[in-house]
Symmetry: C3
Subunit: 291 residues, 3 copies
């Protein structure tokens, strides 16, 4: 797979040196979450809220789920070190509650992670996403379609402004590269685009992460729960390290789970087990193509 | 089991000819969902929303869950080919959102599947179910109690008009036969009543589908997720074929999962695996008693 | 473990006689739930609603989940024998719906179980918890932090009035002993505090239940679903017996599941299987330290 990947991406891409400090920071983030069980709060959709919480626990974190700007503020004054907001299954009250939670995180100087699920579908979703532009997310975790749609919603220069509706990935990651760069430059943060080969970018450097499992597309919530785990890692690490640690942890756990699965049911069980059991070194020593 | 079933239902019932075109249509629907991953959207209860989505993915479809008439319309203009509405865990806004989604499906000429969970319990549920009469569902997936209650709510001739409350099956399928016929004639569609032996009817012909597993009643969401999978099949097949394919797929997967289970936890895991692994031929060659 | 426990608690604590009538009542409750599949209704959070329902089914009960005082009343007039209210993931309409459900249970003389998740966090939660004081719960199932916070919210004498926010257990059970006693005396019911060693008290006698698994803290919903199962047992038994049966059933099932688990995913599957398979005698003959 690595060879095929190299062929496709030519000589601009090289595997990150095994001694690069980023790898050490990833390993440290994994160990630190397990040692300190940090709390990330989540405002997330009803479909996969259980998996988000269980994935956060399985990597060693602590979970608190709610739908309230007021509770977000209460938690930000206390134990919560990062916030995750996921745009699935919106209800009308979320129009004000979600932007309030984003504002509160920003006011406390705490990182927040956005999963713009379904960006481009519906006026309520568009209104909330536009409101987020005032206090933009520290990390965006999305698929290619959503990156393109969100860049359009925020009218970003250099991005393909097509606003596409849809909750499933319909574009390859590389089609979203311009949008991802534009989003990262606008937010000053990190964009993590999931696909067959994941992309993590700060708008300058692109990190491509091969591996993972096709089963991830045959269970609901792989992407949503990766967003939640990214917030868990953002409790203890800088945004780039957090996005990398979460995506690499997911890929290595998925590799392992695939070997023990007979279908999507057993895959999800094995995946949660593997999140718990995968070592910090396995995660940090993953192939990482940088360009 | 088949023999006992025959004894109970006498000579009016015969196994559908192995070469009947309906069986070929069922096999084709199973293959086509797996080949084309069609999108059915769902407005469904919070208890089992995750299982509905995972079951739709496990049969090969694509899932999009929300609670909004506006999003239903957006999806109907785009990728969604069928809608599923399930009446569990209602919130007040669903009073207008759910009928709007049903209307939108009807206006787009797209099939929609209703699961009237808890029909007879509560005024809000009654109001929404009454509103559905204006644009009735293409397929109703329910248990016997709910069929009887819904026929009563719609004041259908020939149906037992007792409005019973309850979320669990308390009647045998055959007690609901008049209600099922009345519902099918009123909607011009299909009624699929789940039980120890399932009933699928268009109001003229009755198809009875033996098999499945008692474990299906010991996990939450077997019926709800069958409704969702019925919508997935309605994306690619006529309503009768869709209802048959979904119910047969469920019965064969449950047969298989039961053999690998030690309790309700392992049954659900094995069931999702089996939805993925059961072949189109296994499904289409199931016993089908027609009368 | 028992030895260490004895050491820690000295001579005031003794194992309940193997022939104590309470053990017989526990065994009878377990058998009766399995024989009669009683219905407990739940108004519970969106994170773990699926596990609550599946756990209630796995111990032999029947589940009905909703968010409506009106539906609570409809079910209380019918099949429901107990109500469970869990304070996670509150939405604004629950401000009136949850107290209405509690009132309705009280007016019908039916038991209701409260899980005060996150007590101390947010005004909405505080308002609802204060409203419950008018028709207090028959059984409170909580962790130590929540017991302390709830006693403070209700201004109970003898309790530590610190109102702490938080959804995760941060105090040891014994730190909450005064709060638990105050709550039990105020409600006239039972308080069940989960921890490494669980505490069940009626305000006079304290029962401590060792065992269970640390994995229970690494899946979401162990406590929430124990609350639901407590309501299931309250359908067929007095409050003390119900709280004891539920907590002991959970501990024995967790012991068993831990032996078959490789991580949090397989633990949850094995735990649901074990709820189904653990015998009434295994549950009733558990170590029970009384003081």
């Amino acid at each position: 797979m690595n060879t095929a990947y190299d062929d496709a991406h030519g000589t601009d891409s090289r595997n990150l040196d095994i001694n690069d400090p980023l790898r050490a920071r990833v390993a440290q983030a994994v160990a630190q979450v397990r040692a300190t069980t940090p709390l990330a709060q989540s405002l997330t959709n009803f479909v996969t809220i259980n998996l988000v919480a269980n994935a956060q626990l399985a990597v060693g974190g602590t979970a608190a789920m709610h739908y309230s700007g007021e509770e977000a503020a209460a938690l930000d004054h206390g134990a919560s070190k990062a916030t995750y907001i996921n745009m699935g299954t919106l209800l009308e009250p979320f129009r004000t509650e979600y932007p309030a939670a984003a504002r509160d995180a920003a006011e406390h100087g705490l990182p927040w992670v956005l999963d713009p699920v379904g960006a481009g579908a519906g006026e309520l979703r568009g209104d909330i996403l536009r409101a987020f532009a005032a206090t933009p997310p520290t990390i965006i975790r999305c698929n290619a379609s959503e990156a393109i749609a969100l860049a359009g919603i925020w009218h970003l220069d250099g991005a393909d402004a097509r606003a596409r509706a849809g909750v499933e990935a319909s574009d390859e990651v590389d089609e979203a590269i311009d949008a991802a760069h534009a989003l990262a430059r606008f937010t000053g943060g990190i964009v993590s685009v999931s696909g067959a080969v994941d992309l993590v970018t700060d708008g300058e450097r692109d990190f491509r992460l091969p591996g993972g499992s096709v089963w991830m597309t045959k269970i609901t919530g792989a992407g949503c729960s990766l967003g939640g785990v990214t917030a868990t890692y953002a409790c203890v690490a800088d945004p780039l390290t957090a996005a990398m640690a979460a995506a690499l942890h997911y890929n290595r756990a998925a590799d392992s789970a695939e070997r023990e699965s007979n279908g999507p049911g057993s895959f999800q069980v094995a995946f949660l087990d593997a999140l718990w059991n995968t070592t910090a070194d396995e995660i940090a020593q993953s192939p990482i193509y940088v360009s």
